[in-house]
Each structure stands twice: as structure tokens, then as C-alpha cells.
Amino acid sequence: MKVFNLIKKDIQIFLKSKSSVVLTYLVPMILSLVFGLVFGGVGGSSGMNEIKILLVDGDKTEISREFTSALDSLPELIVNTEYTKNDSTYLLDVKTMDELIIKGKRGLGIYIPAGFADKLKQGTKLPLEIHYDPKNQIQYGMVNGLLQKTIMSKFPMVMLNGLMSKSEEFLGKARHEMFQSEMETTIKNYFPVGEGDVMKGSTGSLPAEAPNIFDNPLEIEQVKLLGEEKSNPMYSQYVAGMAVLFLLFSVTYSGASLLEEKNAGTIKRLLISPISRGQILTAKMIFTSIVGISQLTVLFIFGWLVFGLNIFQAIPTLLVLIVVTSLACSALGIFIAAICNNLRTVQSLSTLIILTMSLLGGSMVPTIVMPKYLQTVGKFTLNYWAMHGFNSIFWRNLHLGDIMLDVAVLFGIFIVFYFTGVRIFKKRLVTY
């Protein structure tokens, strides 16, 4: 009950300070709102690494295989058509592809439906499906462009057919046929091609649904695998990052209150009362975590209200993640306070640590725009795991079993920082 008394006191003090309440709840809300609005539109982005995509060939023809390898040979893409399971390699099917995307292993997959090659020969619009996680809108845009580029350079007749149909429209049938034969002769004169090779598909009548060349020659069906109902997908991406960033700031504040109490002499008085150092630190840890948990909860509810953040699909999982994230952050806050001598050092050191971690861990900028080695470094941050966990819930509709690794890593961070922090603090609470 003494621990409870200590926690109650901290909560009373916390609630009396309007600035700390505003800083804990309101500022993150406003900032995540701004971020959500800023990034809500299409995020143009450059300097990305090659995108790893999946591909299922439902057509299984010479042409579809050629198309696949053409895509793979692009420097921007790495195309996987297989997956490994229990050390064996299998050809991907649509179901497995979708599962991999849902789990976040890949951002995007292409399905070439049966009849692709036939359509190509006929010179009609080509059907393709892109299955993706709407979070990866940027990747989707890039891949879409790359598909068009590949089709046009590899299979130019599709475009030519389009040209033909346009000219027929403009010139009328008779003049168009004249133009066509003249073109054919001209091409034959200048290029060593055999009779009939030119404009194979255009002899005879043109297909009814010949594409307009100014249009996309592709008929791409978007299959959004996740989060279709979200009103602002980018917001969901950022809310977790923002939340963790602000959580870190608020926990260092309460961790630092231990130092403040030491300076004010209240710690000394506590230690003279029948209260142990362990109780003081436990109470501080619990208080800090309570602030963290309430902060995350408030922010996510705000996200749900304003941006339709999907918080209800896995409530227990979300709660577990909120708790371990708060514990991990609180422990880090206590640790930082423990290694510093005064409040000013706590402030500057924690700002440095928090901003570095948040940048590397993806709280501020998606890790995908970073160089590879930085992405690897980012995995050593608390932010990475917390965000990975939250995005798994908000985006991939995953459940506890799927985010066990994130939970375990965060819990590990909590254990390591809390116990080292407590060890250091126990020594430093008293100045001998």
C-alpha cells in the first residue's frame, strides 16, 4: 500500500501540472493530426531501394514468362515467384502471395491472369492484378509505372495497335488502309523484317476494345489486401511513430522527477520513513507506465475518432502491446535519469537518444526511404519494434501470436533497462 501511496502522490502532482498534461496528451494529438494531414496525400518519394515484389503467373505462357523476367531484370525490382517453407521451395499461388503481403513480408504482388498472352496477341488492354497493402501506396505507384514501361518496351505492338485504331478513327477506313500499307512498305524498306511481321495483329479488323494509346495499355486491377476501410492510411502509419516518440518524452519527464525529488530532499525523507529504495523505484516505474499507457490509449482513441484508426479489431493484442511498449519506454526513462546527475543532463541526453532512435526506428520517416544499413541499425531501436507491432495490428489485422517477437523484444528492453537503471539508482539515491 505504500507503493500505492507513492503512485497516488505522483499522479496528483502530474495532474496538477497543466503543462505536463498538455504535453502528454494534447501536443501528441495535434502533432499526429498535422502529420496525418501532411502525409495523408500521396507521398512522392525518391531514393528508394529496389522493391521486392511477388509474382504469380496464372497464364503460364512463353509471353507471360518473358514478361516476368523482363520485370525481374529491371534494376528497380526484385521479383520472387517462389517461396520457401521447411527448406523446400514452392511456386507461389495467389493465396500464399496474399498471406505474405498481409503479414508484411512483402509490400506488393502481381498476378498475371490466364489469357494474358492471348490478349497481348490481340492487342487489347492487358489484364493484370496488383495485390498490395494500401500502406505501400508509394510502392504501388512505382510498380504501376514500371509495368507500363516494361509492356511498352517489350511488347510495342500493343501500342501500335492503339495507334492504328486512332488513325482509323481519324482518317476513315479507306484512307487508313492506304496509310497502313504505305507504312508497311516504308518499314519493310528500312528494316529487315519479313512479310506480315509488321503489325501482325492489325491485319483484318481491329479489336473492338483496342486501347487508346494515350491511355494506359494495361488494365490493372488493384487488389488492396488490407485496411481498405481506412479513411487515412498514412495516418495509421504515423500515429504509432508519433505515439512512441511522445511516449519517450513523457516517460523521461517522469523518470527525471526522481532526480527532482532527490534534489528537493523528498527522497531523503522517504528513505528515512519506513520505505525502501525498491518501493520508491517500483512506484516510479508503475506511475511512469500508467502515464505511458494512458497516453497511448488516448492517442489511439483520438486516431480512431479523427482518422478511423482500426483499433477495435484486436483489442487484447493492442492492450498487451500498449503495456509492454509503455514498460519498455518507462524503463528507458528511468535508466536515462539514473545515469545522469542533474535534470539538465537528463533533458539533453534524452532528447538526443529519443530523436536518434525515433529517426532510425521509423517514428518520423518511414524506414523504407533509408539506406539498407540504416534500416538494419534501426532494428536496434525501441521505436522499430513498437511501431512494427502497432502497424501489425492496425494494418495487418494480426493477433498476439503474430507479434510475439515484438512483444518479446520490448519486454526484454524493459527488463534490461529497468534492472540496470534500478541498480544504478539505488546507489545514487543517497549521496554518502
Binding site: 500500500m1 505504500k2 501511496n5 497516488k8 502522490k9 496528483q12 502532482i13 496538477k16 501540472s17 528537493a264 530532499g265 523528498t266 531523503k268 525523507r269 522517504l270 528513505l271 528515512i272 520513513s273 519506513p274 520505505i275 543517497v430 554518502y432
Partner: protein, 308 residues
């Protein structure tokens, strides 16, 4: 009874306490008098178990300070030298918080909070945040919040530093009341007048050593001469010149234009002294008799003044 035996304490190079030994009787109002940095707080912090005792031994009512910490914490109350309160919280909230660190039934605690807030004159302001209190009010609350578990032994470390006369009187009356109730009180101060007014026995501490201990009457006996004259001159003086004029007395320079004169049968010989001083180029502008006091005891023992 508190028994302190051969207690020493170092902070790195600094020897804050040097082989201190003395006893404090149960129910006694005991003063620890000494200048800043003498080691008063260090001794209090050893007594209340905040600092670990490494050299020497201390027992309180037969309980060892090293092994019986739990029991001791229940019977000890400490008023720290620093104001150790949560400034954001009200007096009421502070009292509740500090009281709840001890096992006190909530109805009893409620009554005691009211009682001690009234006793310290803070009841009307009980719902104001401590941050809005004056220095004296904070001091009073600092004391009140140490009394809720009704400790048998109360350690008060300079509880009147920086307070207004009104608060000081509140505090003195409170201490006298607590003393009448039979508590053992250890009171540290660097104001000799406080020790003289309040304390039954006084230990004078300087540079980590107890240099004198006893009732004030016993301490006055240390003085070579009971009374002294304080003479002030119009201009700067040279104490050796004054000594030459009255060679049969002890002269001690007090300030640049004043001296203490002491000697046997001083009061009777005042006219004689004044007559002799007429020949001194420096006019005497003020003269008064100084009764024996701890200030002079300290001065005689250390050659320094207690203040500063």
C-alpha cells in the same frame, strides 16, 4: 536513551565527524550547537539511518542503528534541514501522503492531520498548494508532517532557518509542547540564543568534534570570566594600544572599532576602566555588560565567533 560511541564519518577527504561520543537521555531536549559545516546534519543523518554507519556504534533505546532499522524507523521522526515537501500539493495532501507512509488507521490519521495543522497554525490554509506558502509556513509544515506517527524520538535539523519571528515562536511553543509530552528531542542549530532558550543540555560541535557538553550553566563555567564589557569606540582601534591602557584585563578584539574586556570583579571596576580610557585618543561611544553566553563559550573554546 541514545548512545553514540566513537562515531566518525568521512566524505572522501573531508572528515565530517571525528570520533564523536556522547549520550542523550530519554525525554531530554538536547541541543546540538555549531557553525555551518560543523557536522550537525551528518550526525543527524547517521542517527536516522539515512547514512550508513561505518565507524563507531549508535544505539537508540537499546536498538542498534545497524540491525534494528525497521523498529527504529517507527519510533523516530525527522524534520530535515531542507524543506522536504511536494510544493505542487496542498498542505492537506502532503500530510496525507507523509502520514500514509506509516501504518496509521485512516480515521486516526485524519484526526492527527487536523490536530497538527491547527497546532502549527496552518489549518486555515490547508487547501493551498505549498508553493504558495511563505518560508515560515513551509517550515511549520515541514515539522508537522514529521509528527503524524507520533515519534518518541524527534530529530529536528535547523528547523527555524530563514523564518519570520512569528513562525519562530510557533515553532518554539510547539517544541516545548512536544517536550512536555515526554518525547526525546534532538535539536540542531547554529543560533546560540535558540539553544540557550530551548535546550536542557547542549553539545557544542565544531569541525566534527564535540568541544563541550553540558547544561548551559555548566557550559558558562568554562568561561574564565563570567561577565565581559563590550566597548565601542568612535574610530578604528588597535587592540594592543587598548591593552596597554588596561594591562590588568583581558582584551579581545570584537570588530574594527570594538573590543571585549574581561577580568575579575569586572562590574565593580567599570569606573576605573572608563577613567583610564579617558587618556585614549579614541573616544568611547558605547559600553555595555555582556552576561555569560554560549557565544562567548564558543569564542573562548575556538577563538572564533559562532556566527558565520
Amino acid at each position: 536513551m541514545i548512545e553514540i560511541k566513537n562515531v566518525s564519518k568521512n566524505y572522501g577527504e573531508i572528515q565530517a565527524l571525528k570520533n564523536v561520543s556522547f549520550e542523550i537521555n530519554s525525554g531530554e531536549l538536547f541541543g546540538l550547537l555549531g557553525p555551518n559545516g560543523a557536522g550537525k546534519t551528518t550526525l543527524i543523518n547517521l542517527l536516522n539511518t539515512y547514512l550508513p554507519l561505518k565507524a563507531g556504534s549508535i544505539t537508540i533505546n537499546g536498538l542498534s542503528i545497524k540491525s534494528d532499522v525497521k523498529e527504529l524507523k517507527q519510533i523516530m521522526g525527522v524534520v530535515p534541514q531542507e524543506i522536504s515537501l511536494y510544493e505542487e500539493l496542498t498542505a492537506m495532501e502532503n500530510m496525507k501522503f507523509w502520514g500514509n507512509n506509516y501504518r496509521i488507521k485512516s480515521e486516526i490519521l485524519k484526526d492527527r492531520i487536523e490536530y497538527y495543522l491547527k497546532l502549527t497554525g496552518l489549518y486555515k490554509r490547508r487547501h493551498s498548494p505549498v508553493a504558495e506558502y511563505s518560508g515560515g509556513m513551509k517550515r511549520r509544515l515541514n515539522i508537522a508532517s514529521s509528527l503524524l506517527h507520533e515519534p518518541k524520538i524527534l530529530m529536528m535539523d535547523e528547523p527555524t532557518v530563514g523564518v519570520d519571528p512569528q513562525s519562530r515562536n510557533y515553532i518554539f511553543e510547539l517544541i516545548e509542547k512536544l517536550h512536555e509530552e515526554g518525547r526525546t528531542i534532538i535539536y540542531t542549530t547554529h543560533y546560540m540564543a535558540e539553544a540557550e532558550r530551548l535546550c536542557e543540555r547542549i553539545a557544542i560541535i565544531d569541525y566534527g568534534k564535540i568541544i563541550a557538553l553540558g547544561t548551559k550553566e555548566e557550559l558558562y563555567k568554562i568561561l574564565e570570566h563570567k561577565n565581559a564589557l563590550h566597548l565601542t569606540f568612535i574610530d578604528k582601534i588597535d587592540s594592543e594600544e587598548v591593552q596597554k591602557i588596561v594591562p590588568e584585563f583581558d582584551i579581545r578584539k570584537k570588530s574594527k572599532n570594538s573590543v571585549y574586556i574581561s577580568g575579575d570583579n569586572l562590574i565593580k571596576r567599570i569606573p576605573n576602566i572608563l577613567k583610564k580610557l579617558e587618556q585614549y585618543k579614541n573616544e568611547t561611544v558605547d559600553i555595555h555588560i555582556i552576561r555569560p553566553n554560549l557565544e562567548n563559550v564558543f569564542l573562548q573554546l575556538t577563538g572564533r565567533e559562532l556566527r558565520e
